[in-house]
């Protein structure tokens, strides 16, 4: 197996790595270059060097477009080695990380003292990096193991509660790996009070009782198991420097923590783009023919490619879109996908295909256009290093997986990359593939319809508005953090911050769902309106680009106005804060009848008089409710 600790899905770092870092330090804008360099398989020293450049860039104000994120770190071990690795790895996920670590052994005091550095940085998330030794003894044979596990869970819950009192930060908790040494032997698993038993009981209760929206899991036990417990636990390094686990796994650990931070920030990717020849099947369809390609049982090499197809299908079932980019004869390639008896993936499984002789970067851009998604949501898998290099150079926003020469490892590398790391799994995710397929059918209906109004009527749209809903705010938050294009202010919120808005009596949070004759689009719009001087300030208005051009925004405004009238609000204040990505909504408020009225900081301010607003008739039926 490829060595997970070496981050095999990333390309090797350039030979003149430190010179690259020094070059970046002199640039006017460094975020893009920092992220590109972070996209290599970096070791601990390389991450340390990169962290220095990132900290420098943050201090100089040149880290854009990396997004600022403050992390509080609480640990029962040394953090000196982990902090720079976290900072370097976070850049790989589009984040300029600032870290404040609680001093060793001071964890509870740090949680409770608002003057601590940990809270002074106003953390967006707090990582409770506590391992087995924070809760239990080495070589344990605990007399009252149930009580000990309860006490450990209570200790963790108390820390989380203490932080919740003083901070809105998301909390990241860790499972624990048990040291591999056994007291009895195989009996340890079954014998209450042994290390193996305590860790298993703790992890189960952590998963059942501690995790909730705003409290996310970093599954350290899974990492330790993946690389092997005997290697993970390094007693010499622990005795020498209080390292929680062997130094050489720090890049892997930091990568996993950084993924989670990226996922909280909504940076997860959505589309897996696959090459065909020697990626989805062995051989070249144009040369070998349908009967000649290697795929399926009875041939180990053929089995390897089928294994990758099964992994891709599993990703599709959890909401990842599949697409094809291949240099091939389209008719022949499609025939193979349709007719080869050992194909696991069929035409219906792909949301879009580009099979032609154009270069791959051009084809990825075409796929992005077809799917109404940015290429920054793409993961690209291709056995050919030349194609990978071309895409990396032309479209650095695409995650291009490095692949080993052995196809037996393809599926493992794909999944080890964590490209689709998620902090939740919703019905929307489950149905996403179907939603995109329905979109394609809507597009074809639009092409047939002569007039837009007639087309929209034929969709038989129904909007559902829920104000201050206690259910659905996980998706509500996900929309806020993932939307870049239809996003008026590009503010990002954690689930706990959103929960506060939902609970605040004078703040309107509006969830909008849309169904039509082709299916359920799920929640497609999030709005947050905050009161100010008798007006509502539209702090956040994001919408899924899937429903563009269907007058949904007008229906949303009708609903906001209806609620404003009921609440005695006289004015709506729309804000537009321009970013490189949201030019799409530059004229959003103008089109809706607002008039521009100066600026609010770096945002344009647009006003609408509620009393004189006249709602237009729309092709969307509306249901509305307010949660109790």
């Amino acid at each position: 197996m490829v060595e997970p600790a070496l981050l095999p899905w990333l390309p090797a770092s350039p030979p003149d790595y430190r010179a690259h870092c020094a070059d970046i330090d002199t640039m006017a804008q460094r975020g893009t270059a920092l992220r590109r360099l972070a996209g290599h398989a970096l070791g601990t020293n390389e991450l340390q060097r990169l962290a220095r450049s990132i900290i420098q860039a943050v201090n100089d104000g040149t880290a854009a477009p990396l997004q600022s994120f403050a992390l509080g770190l609480v640990s029962n071990s040394t953090t000196d080695f982990i902090v720079p690795a976290l900072i370097g790895s976070a850049a790989r996920h589009g984040v300029a990380l600032r870290v404040a670590a609680a001093p060793f052994g001071m964890t509870m005091q740090a949680a409770l003292d608002p003057a601590s550095e940990l809270l002074q940085i106003r953390p967006d998330a707090i990582l409770l990096a506590l391992d087995y030794r924070a809760y239990f003894n080495d070589y344990a044979l605990d007399d009252d193991p149930m009580a000990s596990v309860s006490a450990a869970i209570a200790k963790l819950q108390a820390m989380i509660a203490a932080f919740a009192d003083v901070s809105k930060a998301a909390i990241l908790v860790q499972t624990i790996a048990a040291p591999p040494e056994r007291l009895f032997g195989s009996l340890d698993r079954h014998q209450p009070g042994t290390a193996a038993w305590l860790a298993a009981a703790f992890n189960q209760r952590l998963s059942d009782e501690v995790l909730r929206p705003g409290v996310n899991l970093l599954d350290v036990e899974a990492l330790a198991n993946c690389v092997g417990l005997a290697a993970w636990f390094d007693r010499s390094q622990h005795m020498t420097a209080r390292l929680p686990f062997a130094n050489r796994f720090i890049p892997l650990y930091a990568e996993h923590a950084a993924r989670l931070i990226g996922a909280i920030r909504g940076h997860s990717r959505k589309v897996l783009v696959l090459d065909l020849d020697n990626t989805l099947w062995g051989g070249v369809i144009g040369d070998d023919g349908i009967d000649g390609i290697r795929l399926g049982q009875g041939d180990p090499r053929g089995e390897a490619f089928q294994d990758l197809q099964r992994a891709a299908l599993a990703l599709k079932r959890r909401g990842v879109l599949l697409a094809v980019s291949s240099k091939n004869d389209e008719a022949l390639a499609r025939q193979a996908i349709r007719e080869h008896p050992e194909m696991v993936l069929r035409e219906d499984d792909f949301s879009a295909m580009q099979i032609n002789w154009s270069d791959k970067a051009t084809n990825l851009e075409a796929l992005a256009e077809r799917l109404s998604l940015g290429v920054d949501s793409f993961v690209f898998m291709d056995d050919n290093p030349v194609e990978r290099a071309q895409v990396r150079s032309a479209l650095p926003q695409v995650l291009v997986l490095e692949l080993p020469s052995d196809p037996a490892e393809y599926a493992a590398v794909l999944l080890a990359s964590g490209a689709f790391e998620a902090i939740g799994f919703s019905d929307e995710d489950r149905q996403r593939s179907e939603q995109y397929a329905a979109n394609a059918r809507r597009d074809s209906l639009a092409a047939q319809s002569r007039d837009l109004a007639g087309f929209l009527e034929s969709l038989r749209m129904r909007g559902t508005f829920v104000a201050d809903g206690a259910i659905g705010w996980s998706r509500f938050t996900q929309l806020i953090n993932k939307s870049n294009q239809f996003n008026l202010t590009t503010k990002r919120y954690t689930e706990s911050q959103v929960a506060d808005y939902v609970a605040a009596p004078d703040v309107l949070t509006l969830q909008v769902r849309l169904t039509d004759q082709f299916g359920d689009n799920g929640m497609i719009c999030s709005v947050i309106a905050c009161p100010r001087d008798g007006a509502w300030v539209l702090d956040t208005w994001v919408m899924s680009c899937r429903v563009l051009g269907r007058r949904v925004e007008e229906a949303v405004l009708n609903e906001i106005v209806r609620r404003a009238l009921a609440a005695g609000i006289g004015q709506l204040v729309g804000l537009y804060r321009p970013t490189p990505r949201n030019g799409l909504v530059r004229d959003h408020y103008r089109k809706l009848g607002f008039h521009q009225d100066g600026h609010d900081g770096d945002a344009e301010r647009w006003m609408l008089d509620v009393a004189s607003y006249e709602p237009a008739a729309l092709p969307i039926a509306c249901d509305t409710s307010t949660a109790a």
């Binding site: 870092c21 020293n45 020498t240 420097a241 390292l243």
Partner: protein, 80 residues
């Protein structure tokens, strides 16, 4: 691998750990002679040497060497 080869390769490790291409090792060199060689960097140096040479020091051993000369000798013993 002779002591000279070990010294050359150690020099590269030092340069990586301290991000300084001007570092030149000499047997008398100590932590006081290198910018940034504090207790944390000392551990980074130890594990970097271990990983680069694929050797392990006994626990506490690394901290006992008083200068670079002793370190080169210790590494050379392990790789020979």
């Amino acid at each position: 691998m002779g002591a000279d080869d070990v010294a050359r390769r150690l020099e590269a490790v030092f340069r990586d750990v301290f991000d300084d291409d001007k570092i030149t090792l000499s047997p008398e060199m100590t932590a006081a002679d290198v910018d940034g060689w504090d207790s944390v960097a000392n551990i980074r140096l130890m594990v970097s040497i271990e990983e680069d040479f694929r050797i392990r020091f006994d626990v506490g051993e690394f901290q006992e060497y008083r200068n670079v000369g002793e370190l080169i000798a210790a590494v050379a013993r392990r790789v020979s």
